[in-house]
């Protein structure tokens, strides 16, 4: 049974320009213990769709669809119950480690307050647990770290602390929103290795959001590609990243610099720019930029249908076979 099953998720946000659809019918599921990679460019709706699950959308947001988590629908839950699940069974790590920790509260405090709340532990027990968690994320000198403040740590260390905070109550599902984007490349690898190890040790499912496909190639089990608020391709990592069938995925892969690229071969850029949320093209949102576009692509939104071992949203399917 899947840990999370998202069906037809839609999110509309209120902007000065009116109501804008950011997420337009997203379906996916996450299996226990797997790393589900979510890839897409900025503005593709990947972060917003995750914030919707935790009830962290800005005021005036309208949410549709369902997100089954265990026996509950996250999107239909009363706020109080959602708060009890957040941080406990479902946790999130955010992109910017420099702003996601409170600058005036000690690391120990930020590690223990939700633990004491959710698990009812006393202070000593919570602190002992905090030290264990910091050891797990390989933070040096965990005991001393409890009394320190976030600004005393580097970005990579802060992200480790954030991960420790997220995993403190042993959640079933962790959503990691671009956890390495704000960090140096050299530090990124460490964080990803950490995530991988932790999910294996604790049978934790992870949704890993990124715009960098390279990040997913090392760690993801399955991958979903987002474009303009919809899922365009979803399947096993090897399938999607090595044998992409959606023109957008194919173009993304082709755009990556390859170590064996010869001097004659050029980097292929995708023509055009991703559509801004208020101005999504009719039919298949990618059609203005797609080299394989046909009339049906302009007329109808392609459904996300099973094709072989994966899900594909493309009328044309030019790379079949």
């Amino acid at each position: 049974m899947s840990v999370l099953e998202v069906e037809d998720l839609r999110v509309r946000l209120r902007t000065p320009a009116g109501e804008v659809t950011i997420v337009d019918g997203v379906d996916y599921e996450v299996q226990p213990g797997e790393v589900f990679g979510v890839a897409g460019e900025s503005g593709s709706g990947k972060t917003i769709s995750m914030l919707a699950l935790l009830g962290l959308l800005p005021e005036g947001a309208v949410v549709g669809g369902s997100a089954r988590f265990g026996d509950d629908d996250l999107l239909a839950m009363p706020r109080r119950r959602l708060r009890r699940i957040s941080g406990r069974e479902l946790a999130m790590v955010f992109q910017d480690p420099y702003t996601s920790l409170h600058p005036m509260l000690s690391v120990g405090r930020q590690l223990t307050d939700h633990v004491r709340l959710h698990l009812g532990l006393g202070r000593a027990a919570a602190e002992a647990r905090a030290v264990e968690l910091l050891e797990e994320v390989r933070l040096p000198d965990p005991r001393a770290a409890l009394g320190r403040f976030p600004h005393q740590f580097s970005g990579g260390m802060r992200q480790r602390i954030a991960i420790a905070i997220a995993l403190a109550c042993r959640p079933r599902l962790l959503i990691a929103d671009e956890p390495t984007t704000a960090l140096d490349v050299t530090v990124q690898a460490g964080i990803l290795r950490l995530l991988d190890r932790l999910r294996r040790e604790h049978d934790l499912a992870v949704i890993l959001i990124t715009h960098d496909l390279g990040v997913l190639s090392g760690i993801a089990d399955r991958v979903g590609i987002f474009y303009a608020g919809r899922v365009v391709e979803l399947g096993l990592r090897a399938d999607v990243l090595q044998r992409p069938r959606h023109p957008y995925t194919r173009a993304l892969i082709d755009a990556l610099p390859h170590p064996e690229l010869t001097r004659e071969q050029n980097l292929v850029a995708i023509p055009g720019t991703p559509p801004s949320p208020g101005r999504i093209p009719a039919g298949c949102a990618f059609h203005p930029r797609c080299p394989y576009v046909q009339d049906v692509c302009v007329a109808q939104v392609p459904p996300l249908d099973p094709v072989d071992t994966r899900l594909l949203a493309c009328h044309v399917d030019p790379f079949a076979g």
Binding site: L54, G55, L56, R80, R83, R84, I85, S86, G87, R88, A91, M92, F94, D96, T99, S100, L101, H102, P103, M104, L105, D113, H114, L117, H118, P140, D141, A145, G147, R148, F149, H151, Q152, F153, S154, G156, M157, A162, I165, D184, T186, V187, A189, G190, R193, G214, S217, G218, I219
Partner: protein, 361 residues
């Protein structure tokens, strides 16, 4: 995909600056203290210069007409204040007196200025305390409400109210309060700290309300409280508005921050998020305003004390200024400046306590 980490790439990860247990708090406080001392010296210099500027016949006004005729007394006076010595020596003499707690003798009351201050300070302090406490509670709460209900009707109403609050002259509010509260409705007394003829409680703190309680005299406590309500409220009007405005903007700045979102993602209930994450983040700005609030309370005290016949430092300073009572003027200036600077010092330190990032500066 994983690359073998080099020594260079590992180093930044392991970098953790160590600042000792209290993370530099002690050093921070010491640095602020040093700045304070420098400032105090400057203040005494200014006060001293003031005493030299005010035109007056120091001898006659201080000794009184009779003594001024006695050459021995005049000589003693001149010697004590170094009036026959050059400028720098007089300043050092002045400092010397200061250190020994001698602020000179008031030409009005003919008592030592320190004695006068000792009498009048508690009255003003009591008034200021009630006023600031009230203002802090009401002002911060309303500011938070205003921020959390941003752009809704209550927010607009509160913002206009606070703008009006800082635009009203304190003495005007006092007049209206006096007229309505005392003259018309007769709910509150119009003058003084106690009813005419009432004896103050035995002095422990100098605060009539507190001392009455300590003495177990509830009737007197009630009376003192009754007298302090109107002046304290009038004094608080400006402060409430100021606090409302600054709290609102401080909270608004914090509310959009990522760490508030992280707190909610952890499942922390909203009221705890407001208290521990939002308010805490806004606290440095709010604390900074306290310095401003205090400045205004001092300013307002002069006006309010005059209107409500409150025997405090404000009244004393006013009489001194009016009558060119040089030692009193200088004494009050120093006292007020010291208190003012100390409050700012405390605010600075509090700032460092609340926000550990500041301690490095």
């Amino acid at each position: 995909m994983a690359t073998a980490p080099t020594a260079i790439s590992e180093a930044p990860e392991l970098r953790v600056r160590r600042f000792g247990r209290a993370h530099g708090l002690a050093r921070f406080v010491l640095r602020r203290l040093a700045a304070l001392v420098l400032l105090m010296i400057g203040i005494t210099a200014v006060a001293f210069i003031l005493t030299q500027l005010v035109p007056s016949n120091a001898v006659a006004t201080n000794l009184g007409e009779q003594a001024a005729g006695d050459p021995a007394a005049v000589a003693a006076f001149r010697h004590h204040y170094g009036l026959d010595k050059p400028f720098p020596t007089r300043y050092l003499l002045y400092l010397d007196h200061l250190v020994h707690g001698d602020l000179g003798q008031s030409s009005l009351t003919h008592e030592a200025v320190t004695h006068d201050l000792g009498q009048f300070i508690p009255a003003t302090a009591e008034l200021a305390l009630y006023s600031v406490l009230f203002a802090a509670l009401v002002g911060v709460t309303l500011g938070v409400i205003s921020a959390l209900r941003r752009n809704r009707p209550i927010d607009h109403a509160l913002r206009v109210t606070s703008l009006a609050g800082i635009s009203m002259p304190t003495f005007w509010i006092a007049l209206i309060a006096l007229y309505v509260g005392f003259y018309r409705l007769n709910w509150f007394p119009g003058a003084g700290r106690l009813d005419p003829g009432a004896l103050p409680p035995p002095s422990v703190t100098g605060f009539y309300t507190v001392d009455a309680l300590i003495d177990g005299n509830f009737a007197l406590f009630w009376q003192a409280l009754h007298h302090i309500v109107l002046p304290a409220l009038v004094l608080a009007a400006f402060s409430v508005s100021l606090l409302m405005r600054f709290t609102r903007s401080a909270v608004l700045e914090v509310v959009g921050n990522d760490y508030v979102r992280s707190a909610r993602a952890k499942g922390i209930p909203e009221n705890v998020v407001v208290r521990r994450y939002i308010l805490r983040g806004a606290l440095p700005s709010i604390v900074t305003v306290l310095g401003l609030v205090f400045a205004n309370v001092l300013t307002g005290a002069v006006l309010v004390e005059k209107i409500f016949s409150w025997p405090g430092v404000g009244q004393y300073a006013y009489e001194a200024a009016l009558n060119l009572d040089v030692p009193a003027i200088a004494g009050v200036s120093i006292f007020v400046a010291i208190v003012y600077v100390s409050i700012n010092f405390i605010v600075d330190v509090l700032y460092g306590v609340i926000d550990p990032r500041i301690r490095i500066t």
